[in-house]
Symmetry: C2
Subunit: 377 residues, 2 copies
C-alpha cells in the first residue's frame, strides 16, 4: 500500500518526526472506482475523513460533491472550488446560527433527524431541502456505530411531514451502515427501511426524491475487503429489489473508502522493553499514538498494517504504545501485534491505510507533542 | 466550583463558542494545600495536565518544580521562569536526541523503567541522575492505569544497578498510584515496593535518595474526595512505616489535583431530541465532546459535574453527546446523565472540574471544529 511515489518522498525528503503522506493518485483512482461502481450515484466526499486542501481541490476538479460537518468544512469545500449546490451540510447537530451562516454561503441541502432540527432550519434557511437520517444497527461495521444519529423510520415520516408543514422541501432519506462496513447485505436492510419511508410519504402525497446511502465503504487494513464494484453490484441490486423501476436519485458519502488507503504514516521506534525478566511480550513504543493521530485504535477498533525494514525476519507478539505519559495511550494490547524480533530502537515503521481519520483527530499539543504533520503529494 | 471570578468573566466577556476558564486563585490555593499537607515533599507540577503559560508562571513564582513529558514542555517550564534544577524529564519513553536536547537545556533528572532507556541516557546525558519507575496496579483509580509505565520492583533493582555501571547516578524510585486515586491505602502498598528497592540497592552498596510518589491526587467531580491533608497524613504514616527514621527525599507530581477544580468549561446545548416517540431517554447534544477536549469521558471514565440555568427543576436521565459527525463522540450513555426536563436548545451549561486534561487533548480540527479555547484569569 505504500506507493512508489510515497516511497520516493520518504527517500528524498527524509522528514523528521512522525508524519502522514497522502498520494493523490490513489485518491483519484478511488474516486474513479466509485464512479464506475455506482455510475448513477452522486459522490459526496466526507470532508471530515481528511480535509487537506490538495485532496479537496483534486476531488472538486474531478466533479465530486462534498458532505460537510460544519461551516468550517463548507468554507473549505467552497475554497477548493466546489459550488454551493455540490455541498451538503450533513451533520444532524447544528447551531441555528451555523445553519444561517451555511445558508448565507448558498447551501441548500441539510440533514435532520428530529423535529427540533427541522424547526431550526425552517427559521434559518426557509424553503431548504432536507433529508432525514434513519437509524441502522451498524452490524458488520468495524468502527462502532452508536445510536447517536438518526431516528426510527416511523419517526422519520413524522419529521419529513413536519418539514413540509414548515415550508421545507422533504427531499429524501439518509442512512449510514457503519464505518468500515464489510457486509454487503447491510445496504439491503437499510434500503428496505428507506423505501418504507418513501411509501409512507407517498401515501401522504409527498414524493421523496433522494436516498443518501452514506459512507461505510471500507479501506483495506489487514484483511481484504470487497472491491468497489462488489459494493456497486450489491447496492444496485438492493435498489432494484426495494424500489423496482422507480429508483430514486442516490448519493454516496465515501470518506475512509476515498482516502484511507492513499495515506501512510512514518513513525520511529522510540523504545522496546519488557516489564519483567519473565515477560513474554515486549512493549514497543512509537513516536505516534492515540493522541497523535491514531485515535481509531480506541478499543483496538482499527488495526492498521505496519511494515518495518526488518520484515521477513521472525516475529513475536508485541504490545504497541504511543509516546505520551498517558496510560491510556496504548494501541494494541488485548490483541498484541506481531513485529520482527530484530526490530530495534530508532527503526522506522510505516503505518499504512492512514489517509483517513488521522490528521484532524490529532490533539493540539498533548504532552507537548505537536500535531501530526501531513504532506499531500 | 464555578468561582465568583469565573462567573464574572462569563458575565462580562460573554465568549462565543465553547471555552475553558481557569481561575489562578484556585491553583494557588491548591499549591498551598499540597505544600501544607506534605511540607517535606518537593512539588513537581505535571505540566501535561494544563500547560497554559499563566499557570506555569504562577507555579514557578510560588516555588513549584515541574514534571515534563517532552522537550517542548521543558522549554515551556523554563520560559515560565523555572530553573533547570527544578525540572524533571518524567517520561520513560524518550528519543535519544530529545534526551540530548534536554541535557543541553540543563536538565539532570530523568525517568527510566528499563535497561534500554538507561543506555540512551548514559550516551546522551552522561552522569545524570535517574529514577526508576516501578509498576503499581492502579486499583482504586478512576482513570485507567495500564502497565505502560514501570517495571516490577526486582527488575527496577537491575535497572538501577545497570545505571550505576554506566556512570549514571541512581537517584531513586518513582511510582504512580493511578490518576484520580481515592483510596488512601494505594500509597502504602507502593511505598512498601519502593522501600524494597531501596533495601536491595543498599545491599549492593548504592544508597538511593529519593522517592517520587507521582500524582494521582484527585479533584472533586461528582463525589467528594479526601482533602489534601488526608493524603498528606496517609502518605506520611506510610513513609514512617516503611522507611522508619530514614525517610528519603520525596517528590509529588500533582496535575489533576493542582488544576482540575480550577477550570470550568462553558458549553451550549445544540440539540435535544429523541430517537423514537416511545424513547424514554432524551439525547442532549453539546457544542463540545470527546474530540473537543472531553477525551477523559472515554469509556465514561471521568464524570464531570454539569450545572445549568435550570438547576432545581425536575430532572430526567439523558444521553450526553458531542457535536461531531462521529458516532463515538458520546460522553455518557451507559450511565445516562440527569439533566433538567426544562433544559432547552440554546441553553448554556457549565462543565466543572475541567481545568486538567482538556485543552491539550482537544483535536486540531476534527470535523472542522476549532480546538478548545482557554482563558486563564
Amino acid at each position: 500500500m505504500t506507493t512508489q511515489r510515497i516511497q520516493d518522498f520518504f527517500a528524498t525528503r527524509r522528514p523528521d518526526g512522525p508524519c502522514l503522506v497522502v498520494d493523490t493518485e490513489v485518491v483519484r483512482d478511488n474516486f474513479n472506482a466509485f464512479k464506475h461502481a455506482l455510475p448513477d450515484s452522486r459522490i459526496f466526499y466526507a470532508v471530515k475523513a481528511n480535509p487537506a486542501p490538495e485532496i479537496l481541490r483534486l476531488l472538486a476538479s474531478l466533479g465530486s460533491s462534498f458532505d460537510c460537518a460544519s461551516v468550517a468544512e463548507i468554507e473549505m469545500a467552497l475554497e477548493a472550488g466546489a459550488t454551493a449546490d455540490r455541498i451538503s451540510y450533513g451533520n444532524t447537530i447544528k447551531k441555528e446560527r451555523d445553519i444561517a451562516r451555511a445558508r448565507a454561503l448558498g447551501i441548500d441541502l441539510f440533514a435532520v433527524d428530529c423535529h427540533e432540527e427541522v424547526d431550526k432550519i425552517s427559521r434559518a434557511a426557509p424553503g431548504a431541502r432536507i433529508f432525514c437520517r434513519v437509524l441502522t444497527d451498524g452490524e458488520g461495521a468495524e468502527w462502532p456505530l452508536s445510536r447517536k444519529f438518526g431516528c426510527v423510520p416511523v419517526m422519520a415520516v413524522d419529521v419529513l411531514e413536519h418539514a413540509v408543514n414548515h415550508g421545507l422541501q422533504a427531499y429524501g432519506v439518509s442512512f449510514h451502515v457503519g464505518s468500515q462496513q464489510t457486509d454487503l447485505d447491510a445496504w439491503d436492510k437499510a434500503l428496505a427501511d428507506a423505501n418504507a419511508v418513501f411509501r409512507a410519504m407517498a401515501e401522504k402525497g409527498v414524493t421523496l426524491q433522494m436516498v443518501n446511502m452514506g459512507g461505510g465503504f471500507p479501506t483495506r487494513y489487514l484483511k481484504d475487503v470487497p472491491a468497489a464494484e462488489a459494493y456497486g453490484r450489491a447496492i444496485f441490486s438492493a435498489l432494484r429489489k426495494h424500489f423496482g423501476n422507480q429508483i430514486p436519485e442516490t448519493i454516496i458519502e465515501p470518506g475512509r473508502g476515498m482516502v484511507g488507503n492513499a495515506g501512510v504514516i512514518k513513525s520511529e521506534v522510540v523504545l522496546i522493553s519488557k516489564k519483567s525478566a519473565e515477560d513474554k511480550v515486549r512493549w514497543v513504543y512509537l513516536d505516534i499514538g492515540k493522541f497523535g493521530g491514531l485515535a481509531e485504535t480506541m478499543d483496538e477498533a482499527i488495526r492498521y498494517p505496519i511494515t518495518t525494514t526488518r520484515d521477513g525476519d521472525e516475529t513475536e507478539p508485541c504490545v504497541l504504545a504511543g509516546p505520551t505519559c498517558d496510560s491510556a495511550d496504548v494501541m494494541y494490547e488485548k490483541k498484541p501485534y506481531p513485529l520482527p524480533i530484530t526490530l530495534t530502537i530508532g527503526d522506522e515503521v510505516l503505518i499504512e491505510g492512514t489517509g483517513a481519520y488521522t490528521t484532524t483527530y490529532a490533539s493540539v499539543a498533548f504532552n507537548g507533542f505537536e500535531p501530526l504533520r501531513s504532506y499531500v503529494i
